[in-house]
Homo-oligomer: 170 residues x 2
Amino acid sequence: MTQSPPLGRALNGAQGRSRKGAGARIEGIDYGPLAKWLGFHLRMAQIASFQAFAAEVGEVDLSPGRFALLTLIGRNPGISQTVLSRAAGRDKSTLTPALRDLRKRELILCQRLARDRRSYHLSLTPAGQAMLRRLTQCAARHEHKLDRIVGARDRPKLLRVLNKIVAELG
Amino acid sequence: MTQSPPLGRALNGAQGRSRKGAGARIEGIDYGPLAKWLGFHLRMAQIASFQAFAAEVGEVDLSPGRFALLTLIGRNPGISQTVLSRAAGRDKSTLTPALRDLRKRELILCQRLARDRRSYHLSLTPAGQAMLRRLTQCAARHEHKLDRIVGARDRPKLLRVLNKIVAELG
DNA sequence: GCCAATTGGTCGGATATAAAACTATCCGAT
DNA sequence: ATCGGATAGTTTTATATCCGACCAATTGGC
């Protein structure tokens, strides 16, 4: 048995921050049933979105995946790693190296509380908050691009459908 | 600078075949701006879809990523690795181990033609065609699930939007 | 024809991810 | 109070992926 991608995987996640290939459909290729399958197109759209986001972030040296973590920690100070992993849709073991990196960069705080010394309480440092603000602006530009593509009218519907997929498949 | 995901991220593709966590939104968590961002939801939906597909495939020991490759090769016999990689939205270097595995399992044929001895002409073996048929049935079941979630009415629209994202961001 | 540029594929290095096994801690029942 | 099960994180192992560097074959300009 193997992994995925990341998809995705995902979207952001396990994919790279490539700017090269990948994206548009290729001329002269018969996609067969793939052309009609939502799963395949979800994957392709996620990859494209991820790459575009990475390009938007650009010089700021923080991957989209880390950005999602920062946002969730910023919004939920005191969150634990396990809950964070589920919120971000990743395995808890994945977070160990990611959070270690964020901690090393002084972007987050990992506090062991006396109350329960198994878990950590995660929170942002001031530097983390500043980084989050900066990235949030990049993300807003990226979302603006997507808005132009999707259209303001269809956007809420798209969000609803994606949510439904996540909720009912999970 | 880092990679992604896979998507997938993959996406998929680049994601794993997990069946565990990941999927539904978590109670009591404030997603903040993430809740409104298409990029994030694309990622989450792709991960959920990927995992559901992996569960559907189940005992058949072939990952969703390999399945996309088989489909594309089956539909485009004689395709080269580079074209295949772009069609599948992955880097060409990624295909080297994947195709080696498919070849070892006798599912595909890699022929060097005298015409241009750099490239391979890829095609399915009879076993590959049988495997593809089997997986196509799994995929159909998976798509049927998605159909129930998305609704037959909205499905074409969703496909169109996802396509547009891929086309215009690429 | 010859050499530079291009193209197809592979390799090595780095990161992301998941699953399973493990450690440490906590909690509940007896 | 103690022991067994549950919970939080980490580690280990295995894939997947990207990117840049590389090699081989082809092609085009001269």
